[in-house]
Amino acid sequence: MTRVRLICVLAATCAVCLPAESVLAQVRAKADVTCRPAGTLQYDCTIVLTNSRTKEPLAGVTLTIGADMPSMPMMHNVRPVKAEPGETPGTYRARLALEMHGDWALQLNLAGPLRDRVLRTLRFDPDRVMPATKAPSHKH
């Protein structure tokens, strides 16, 4: 009985210790990502970050890009790369080195003035990069 109580107390502590109030009215980032092949399994990506509400460019943030394969979640963890600011405000550039071709979910992690994460799923082929297909298409 004491053990059950102990587990209940632990669970309740976890629930109480975490913040309860959700701050919904926050600035959110929007990202447009374009990538092109730059070598074997290497891709040059340009990211344009904007404020999702005001549509203003988001400059001055620290942007790191990680990637995970949706078909094999948590199995392929590409080491995040830091994006360099481009010429125009809100534009960032980064070179990604992937482990294989296919669909990758890019995790754009923003830090600094704005902390956020934006996800974009793209299909990385040897010769091009395009938006990922969500389900296999069947042709009869």
Binding site: C14, Q26, P70, N77, R117, L119, A135
Partner: protein, 312 residues
């Protein structure tokens, strides 16, 4: 701590839940290829709870566990009558049905001028609890491992309890267990429910860690891996599946020379271990040896201490 290390450790922690979930069913002698379904149910349930209903994370994770556990019991009612291959196929079919249902599932709410919620194959983006509440990645890592430790502690207690013995007895021989007075169907259903709840917690953590989920994340690959972790790590203790996760994500991930060949190595490792060590690296015999060695060490140190104290 390095962001990459935090990310790998978080992944190891989260996937350990679904590995432990598959392990719990393996204890009762059932091979499930469908634990990813309860992981998915937990992920969607917990994500909806925080992102759309504004619940605190603790309550959302509990809700995810409840949803996963309830679904597992409901699936267990008809499928646990099946055995071996039939049960494995039934769980796989259920998991694929759940994944396809999530591809049709749409439930979006306008929050702060933006549509948030599950949107079929586009998935469920905007599970931004950790950003909205300023939960750091290290803090979240701490939460994952606190819950994992609690789960492991529960497993240790379970293994020492009558229920744990009943699980193993059923796993060894269900007929013999029934002859010894164990309610086999009820006990297996309980194991299925607990395993579903465990996967549900993992799913809830995953949804909040990555901030998005989509149906294809929960395909058979995740189910096969979660099952393989127990088979690689060993069925002698709950630390076995964790060892399996560590070998796959920890070792193969850190040794980048394996990148791209990882699935081949992983598949080969599973095949090799199934031949050489059918019950994994930490099987019952190894665990017994470790326990005996540990006990001897304790007795020896205790007697030396006593001898030193008694000497003038």
């Amino acid at each position: 701590m390095d962001d990459y290390l935090v990310s790998v450790l978080s992944n190891i922690g989260v996937i350990s839940f679904v590995a432990l979930s598959a392990y719990l069913l393996l204890l009762t002698g059932e091979i499930s290829f469908g634990q990813q379904a309860f992981f998915a149910i937990g992920a969607y349930a917990a994500g909806i709870a925080t992102a759309l209903w504004g619940w605190p994370l603790g309550a959302a994770l509990a809700w995810g566990a409840l949803a996963g556990g309830t679904a597992a019991v409901l699936v267990g009612l008809p499928t646990l009558r099946l055995h071996g291959l039939y049960f494995a196929v039934a769980t796989l079919a259920f998991a694929e049905t759940v994944r396809l249902l999530f591809e049709q599932f749409r439930y979006q709410v306008t929050i702060d001028g933006e549509l948030v919620g599950p949107n079929g194959t586009d998935g469920f983006r905007g599970i931004r609890y950790i950003f909205e509440n300023d939960v750091g990645s290290l803090q979240f890592l701490g939460l994952i491992y606190a819950l994992l430790l609690a789960a492991l502690a529960a497993f240790v207690l379970l293994e020492r309890s009558r229920l744990g013995v009943a699980f193993r007895m059923i796993g060894e021989d269900a007929t013999l267990a029934a002859l010894n007075g164990i309610a086999v169907a009820r006990t297996k259903l309980l194991a299925a429910g607990l395993a579903g709840a465990l996967a549900g917690v993992g799913g809830g953590l995953y949804a909040h860690l990555t901030t998005y989920v989509e149906p294809r994340i929960f395909d058979v690959m995740l189910g096969v891996h979660s099952l393989a972790y127990g088979l690689i790590g060993g069925l002698g203790t709950a630390f076995g599946p964790l060892l399996g996760v560590l070998i796959d994500i920890g070792l193969l991930e850190s040794v980048r020379v394996f990148a791209g060949y990882r699935m081949i190595i992983f598949g080969g490792l599973v095949a090799l271990l199934l031949i050489l060590r059918p019950r994994g690296l930490l099987d019952e015999r190894v665990v017994h040896r470790i326990r005996r060695a540990w006990f001897r060490l304790l007795v020896r140190s205790h007697s030396t201490e006593r001898l030193n104290r008694d000497l003038p």
